[in-house]
Amino acid sequence: MSLSPPVVASGLTFSYGDGPPVLAGVGFRLHEAEVLGIVGANGSGKTTLLRMIAGLLRPQAGTLGVTIPSPAVVFDRLPFQEALTGAENMRTILALRGRKRAADRQVGAGCLSDFGLAKASDQPVSAYSFGMRRRLALAEAFAGEPSLLLLDEPTVGLDPLGRDALADALEQVSDRGGAVLAATNDADFAERCCSRVLLLHQGKVVAEGSPKSLIAELAAPTIIAVEFTGPVSIGSPPGGLATLDVPSARAAADYDPPAAADTVTPRALEFSSRTGTAALADLCAWFAAAGADISSVQVREPGLADVLRSVAGVGLEAGHQAAIDVLGVPGS
């Protein structure tokens, strides 16, 4: 284990030409055995930050220390030697990294297999689908046991099996002590695979922490979606449901006919509950008393996507500061 973290960034600032700052004072540390997710909406500066860490862009202000030279990277573009097979591409990348022994080739073949490309490895890459290209790029990056891995939107184009393979590979890197920086706007992936998340909004870090802690800090409500077999009339909720946000109850389906929120006759309703599923029994009892016939009830716990929506959706214009206050970002 080295003494200093693989990546230490402080006050990173960057603009393209005379444009507005893409990064405005970004700072963080990436530790060994850590999978750090950089989560943010499109244009929040994630890719620029990754390219800077890879050495392709220089910060215009701030300091950046990367202790591991030549990290393995997968960027948005997936360039390959199209005439060569997947296995030949893999061997080429390993050879360029100076790994030409038979053992290295076996590692490469193993990575191709891990990402479900064992059968396709003898086909030319020109015959690969987009998802297969993504898998090949990931397999190349993970081959050779990298100590530092930079991934830009790694789940784009991946099917569920590919996502599972990626999650397994990330776990292996982390277990081995490697560090991973993954820029993504796939909140599910970040929640599943990242030990820590950096929430980037308009070039600034607006929140940092484990996915669970961010969700808890945001205090996003549980969504309870109720569907009925037909239109029903509901009145005001009984006292036991005072904590229920009725309706914010935004009707997910058609109203019949349109009416005020507390007198609608919807076929489906969504409720925001700040007490989790505790209100579920009272909610069902309320509808039973109103003679409503429930066809299904779905409960959706808040996730990182809700945190992202809160920051990106509420946005700077209207309630950015409020969102930041909720998130409790130090120094914002």
């Binding site: 050495g55 030697q81 080429t92 050879a95 360029l96 990294r97 030409k100 030319p124």
Partner: protein, 239 residues
């Protein structure tokens, strides 16, 4: 420098059989009719030299621009391979491939000119020198242009100027800087051996060691600048 890029260039060239076939056929389709024509020997020599120069320059420039635009160049550099070895190996492989692809048509042209084995050896040697220089020019163009269209234009201009300086189109005035430049040009030996082979009144070879020395100097400069050129090429994302 481990030879990984050299091997890659050869593997890709041999795998792309359609392109390989074109690279073998097109020179023959263009040059054999010229050889069979009643054109003056000096004009034939000019056409052959010009074609080989363009073949080399375009052959190194266009793929490099493509690799910059596709992100492959960036990918190679991000493996830590280094811009200098990448570009030097690429230059050598590209020139060697061009030479190998032009050997068949060269043999046909020499045979049509009733050339001797000595002529053949001289032409193939001069061709190697000229192709290496032309590939060097192509890579230099690739480092400064931003698109395939600019590359095509840039290669044409640079090659024509270099050929002009070599005295390919008009013999330079004796005792001027133009004569010195032509004596140094790596394109010059190719022109002269073709003229000799085509019996253009030249008796014996007048090829000097100066052009290869000039080429060696150009290569040394290239190796020094290859790091910058390589990074510049990899940054070229617009095609």
């Amino acid at each position: 420098m481990t030879g990984a890029v050299w091997r890659l260039q050869w593997a890709v060239a041999l795998r792309r059989r359609r392109l390989l076939l074109w690279n073998l056929l097109v020179p023959a389709l263009l040059l054999v009719p010229v050889a069979l024509s009643g054109a003056a020997a000096v004009h034939k020599a000019v056409v052959f030299t010009l074609f080989f120069a363009f073949f080399g320059a375009y052959g190194s420039c266009i793929p490099l621009i493509r690799d910059g635009g596709s992100g492959w160049a960036e990918k190679v550099l991000l493996t830590g391979y280094g811009a200098r070895p990448w570009l030097v190996e690429r230059l050598l492989a590209s020139a060697a491939l061009d030479w190998a692809q032009l050997v068949p048509v060269t043999l046909v042209l020499v045979w049509l000119a009733s050339g001797s084995p000595t002529d053949t050896a001289a032409i193939l040697t001069a061709q190697a020198v000229a192709l290496l220089f032309a590939n060097l020019l192509g890579i230099a163009v690739a480092a400064v242009v931003k698109s395939l269209a600019e590359a095509a234009l840039g290669c044409a201009i640079v090659c024509l100027v270099a050929l002009h300086l070599a005295g390919v189109f008009r013999a330079p005035t004796v005792g001027t800087w133009a004569e010195t430049a032509s004596q140094l040009s790596p394109f010059r030996p190719l022109l002269e051996v073709w003229r000799s082979t085509l019996r253009d009144g030249i008796t014996g070879l007048s090829v000097s060691w100066l052009p290869p020395l000039a080429l060696a100097a150009a290569l040394a400069l290239f190796v020094l600048a290859a790091g910058v050129i390589g990074r510049r090429t990899a940054e070229n994302r617009a095609v």
